[in-house]
C-alpha cells in the first residue's frame, strides 16, 4: 500500500507538465459563460491542441493512474477541463467505442478526439428524471430510418452540439428496460428544436430539446434494437468515477484562497469559522485520497470505476456545497454580491447533489449494489 507512482507514470507527468507550460500561454482567454459560439470554438481548440500533443484519448485508453495524473496536472496548471466535449469524451465516445460497429467507431470517434464534433446527451425527459427507464420519446421504424417524436430536458450544450446521444423507446409493449434503443442523432436534422433553460445562477447551461418526427438513419443505432439500456449503462459510471477528480484539486485551491481571505478580513479569529475551514481541509484531502483509492482498485481489478464512484460522488457533492456555504460565511455581506465569483459558484454548487443522478438515487445504488440490501420493489 503506497501512494507513489512508477517511473513511467512520473515520466508521463513530467512530459505533460512540460507540454502544459508551453501550450497554456498560447491558449486564448476563456470566453464569457453566455457566449456559446465562442465557448464552442474555445473548447474545440483546446481539444485539438490535446489531440496534436497526443493526449486526446487519455480518458479512453490511458491507465486509471495516468488519467488521474492528467486530471491533476491539467487542473494544477489551470488548463480548461473537457467543457463542451464532456459528453463526447466521457459518455457517447466510450459507449461507441465499447458497443459500436467498426464503421460507427471510424465515423464518430476520430472527430470527438480531434475536437471537431460536439455531442450532447438526450436522456432525461420531463416525466423521466431519476426514473430514466420510464422515458417515452418514441422511435418508429420507417424503412431505413427511425421517426423520433418526444421531448428531452437538462441537455447540456444542446445549442452548440453536432450530435445527440439519444435514448428512445422502440418497443412500447416490452418491459421498461427492454424497449429502449440508443441513437446518434444529428442536431441539424429537421424537426429538432432547442429551447435554452435558464438556471437559478442566471446562465443557460442546458436546454430542452423538442423532437417532432425527426428522421434518424437506422444505421445510427449503436447496439441492438431494444438493447439501449444496457448499452448506456456500460459506461454511465464514467461520469461518477474520476470525472470530478480534477474538481477536487480545484476545491482545495479555493479552500486555500478562502483561508487567505479570512486571514485578511479578520474572520479567521472566529473560532467556529476557522474550525469549519479546518474540517473542510480534512474533507477535500480525504476526497482526493478516496479518488486515488478507487483508481488503485480499478487498476487492480481492470474494470471501469464501479459503485465506488457513487460513494465519492455522494460525499463530494455535499462537500462542494459546504465549501461555498463556508465561502459565504467568509465573505459576509459580500456573499450577496453576484460580481463575486464565489457567489456564482455557490449557486452552481446546488446542482451537484442533483446532476448525474441525485444523492437519493446514489444512496439507493450504494445500498443495493455495494451493501446488498433488497430492492424496494
Amino acid at each position: 500500500m503506497d501512494l507513489a507512482c512508477t517511473e513511467e507514470e512520473e515520466a508521463f507527468r513530467a512530459g505533460l507538465r512540460h507540454w502544459l507550460s508551453t501550450a497554456l500561454p498560447a491558449l486564448p482567454p476563456r470566453p464569457p459563460p453566455g457566449d456559446w459560439p465562442a465557448r464552442r470554438a474555445h473548447d474545440r481548440a483546446w481539444q485539438r491542441a490535446l489531440y496534436d500533443a497526443g493526449y486526446a484519448g487519455v480518458h479512453w485508453d490511458a491507465s486509471p493512474t495516468r488519467r488521474l495524473i492528467f486530471l491533476e496536472e491539467t487542473e494544477e496548471a489551470g488548463a480548461p477541463y473537457v467543457g463542451a466535449n464532456f459528453v463526447g469524451l466521457l459518455h457517447a465516445g466510450p459507449t461507441i467505442a465499447a458497443e459500436g460497429t467498426p464503421e460507427q467507431r471510424a465515423r464518430w470517434l476520430p472527430p470527438i478526439l480531434r475536437g471537431d464534433e460536439i455531442w450532447c446527451q438526450g436522456f432525461s425527459e420531463p416525466d423521466a428524471g431519476s426514473d430514466l427507464a420510464s422515458l417515452r420519446t418514441r422511435a418508429v421504424r420507417d424503412g431505413d430510418a427511425y421517426v423520433v417524436t418526444g421531448a428531452k430536458v437538462w441537455t447540456s450544450h444542446a445549442e452548440i452540439a453536432d450530435w445527440c446521444e439519444l435514448l428512445v423507446r422502440t418497443d412500447p409493449e416490452a418491459p421498461r428496460h427492454r424497449g429502449i434503443s440508443w441513437l446518434a442523432m444529428p442536431m441539424d436534422a429537421p424537426g429538432v428544436t432547442v429551447r435554452p433553460l435558464r438556471t437559478l445562477a442566471g446562465s443557460t447551461e442546458f436546454a430542452e430539446v423538442f423532437l417532432d418526427e425527426v428522421r434518424v438513419p437506422a444505421a445510427n443505432r449503436v447496439g441492438e434494437e431494444n438493447d439501449g439500456w444496457r448499452v448506456t449503462m456500460v459506461t454511465l459510471s464514467f461520469e461518477r468515477g474520476t470525472a470530478f477528480a480534477g474538481e477536487v484539486v480545484a476545491c482545495r485551491r479555493t479552500l486555500a484562497a478562502l483561508a487567505r481571505t479570512a486571514r485578511e478580513n479578520g474572520r479567521w479569529d472566529d473560532t467556529v469559522l476557522r474550525r469549519r475551514l479546518g474540517r473542510l481541509n480534512a474533507e477535500f484531502r480525504a476526497l482526493w485520497r478516496l479518488v486515488q483509492f478507487n483508481v488503485a482498485e480499478a487498476e487492480a481489478t481492470g474494470g471501469v470505476p464501479g459503485a465506488g464512484g457513487s460513494v465519492f460522488k455522494l460525499r463530494y457533492s455535499e462537500a462542494r456545497r459546504e465549501l461555498y456555504d463556508t465561502a459565504a460565511a467568509v465573505l459576509g455581506p459580500d456573499a450577496l454580491d453576484l460580481s463575486r465569483g464565489w457567489t456564482i459558484d455557490r449557486l452552481s454548487s446546488l446542482s451537484y447533489t442533483i446532476a448525474a443522478g441525485t444523492s437519493q438515487i446514489q444512496r439507493n445504488i450504494v445500498a443495493e449494489r455495494i451493501l446488498g440490501l433488497p430492492k424496494e420493489r
Partner: protein, 290 residues
C-alpha cells in the same frame, strides 16, 4: 498507483482477524469487564501486536505504520480492550511492552485510561482521580488539563493519533456490517426493513463515511504527515461515532438495550474521540495548515 493493501498486508489482516475473533467474542468481552486479560495480552505480544514496527534485530517484524493501521483496525472492529496504542508505542523503550508482559498506558489530554491495571504509566498522572467511565470496558481517570482548545500539555505523538483513528475505522466498519445484517433479517410490514429507503439511506450514509475515513486513515498511515493524520482522526471519529449511532437507530428498541453490542461501540467511539487528539484540536491543526 498501488494504494490498496498488498497481498502480504491482506494476509496479516486475515491472521489478526482470526486471532481476535476467537478471543473477543461477545461473552468473553463482557465476562472480563474492565480488567485486562493478561494471558490474552501476552498472546498478543507473542503474535507481534506490540512489536510489529520494531526492527527485526530487536525482535520485531520490521513493519511500518500501514501494517500497524490494518492491525489496529481489526482491534477496533472487535472492541479489543486495553491501552493497546500506548503499549504498542512503548515497545522498544519500555521493558516488557514488546512481548506483552507489561501493560503500558499514557496520560492522554486530561484522561488516563486503564491507570490501575497498567504496570507503567507514561506522563504525569499525579493527582489522577477515578471517573465513572461511560464505557464499561474502558476504566478512566481524570487529570488536570488546560482550557479546551488550548495547547495540550501532554499531547500524544502523531502515530498514536493515527492508530486510534484506525481503531475508530474498524469500529465504523463493524457497526456498518451489523446494521446491514440486521436490516436484511428484521422484517416489518411483511418485508426486510432494509428494503425501505429510509433505512437504506442510513446504511448508505454509514458506508460513505466509513470509506472516506478508510482512504484518509490508510493515506495518513503511508505519509505519516501530522496534518493528514489530524484529518484521518477527525473523519474516523465521525465515522465511528455517527456509525454507531445510526446502527443503534437501525436496530430500533433492541439497539437501546444493554444486551445489544452497539452501545459498546458507541461508548468506545466516544472515548477514542476524546483520546489521541479530539475534534477541536484536529480542526485547529488542519486550519493552521491552510
Amino acid at each position: 498507483m498501488r494504494f490498496r493493501p498488498t497481498e502480504d498486508q491482506r494476509a496479516l489482516r486475515r491472521g489478526v482477524r482470526e486471532l481476535l475473533e476467537a478471543r473477543c467474542g461477545r461473552d468473553a468481552l463482557r465476562a472480563r469487564g474492565a480488567r485486562i486479560d493478561r494471558a490474552l495480552w501476552r498472546e498478543l505480544g507473542r503474535a507481534g501486536f506490540f512489536s510489529l514496527r520494531l526492527p527485526e534485530a530487536e525482535g520485531g517484524a520490521g513493519l511500518g505504520l500501514p501494517e500497524a493501521a490494518l492491525v489496529f483496525e481489526e482491534a477496533g472492529r472487535v472492541l479489543l480492550p486495553g491501552p493497546l496504542v500506548a503499549t504498542h508505542l512503548a515497545a522498544g523503550s519500555v521493558p516488557g511492552a514488546a512481548d506483552g508482559t507489561a501493560v503500558v498506558t499514557r496520560v492522554d489530554g486530561g484522561l488516563v485510561p486503564w491507570l490501575e491495571e497498567a504496570d507503567v504509566v507514561l506522563g504525569d498522572a499525579s493527582g489522577a482521580v477515578p471517573v465513572r467511565s461511560v464505557d464499561p470496558l474502558t476504566p478512566l481517570h481524570r487529570v488536570a488539563s488546560g482550557p479546551p482548545g488550548g495547547p495540550e500539555p501532554q499531547a500524544v505523538p502523531p502515530s498514536a493519533v493515527l492508530l486510534t483513528a484506525a481503531e475508530q475505522l474498524g469500529s465504523a466498519g463493524r457497526t456498518l456490517a451489523t446494521a446491514v445484517r440486521y436490516a436484511k433479517e428484521r422484517e416489518q410490514f411483511g418485508r426486510p426493513i432494509g428494503a425501505f429507503q429510509a433505512v437504506k439511506h442510513l446504511c448508505a450514509g454509514m458506508l460513505v463515511r466509513t470509506e472516506l475515513a478508510r482512504a484518509a486513515v490508510y493515506a495518513a498511515a503511508v505519509t505519516a504527515d501530522p496534518v493528514e493524520i489530524a484529518g484521518a482522526k477527525l473523519l474516523a471519529d465521525e465515522a465511528a461515532v455517527q456509525g454507531a449511532g445510526d446502527c443503534l437507530q437501525v436496530h430500533g428498541g433492541m439497539g437501546f438495550t444493554w444486551e445489544a453490542e452497539v452501545h459498546l461501540h458507541l461508548k468506545r467511539a466516544w472515548v477514542r474521540a476524546e483520546l489521541g487528539q479530539p475534534a477541536a484540536r484536529s480542526e485547529e491543526v488542519l486550519a493552521a495548515a491552510l
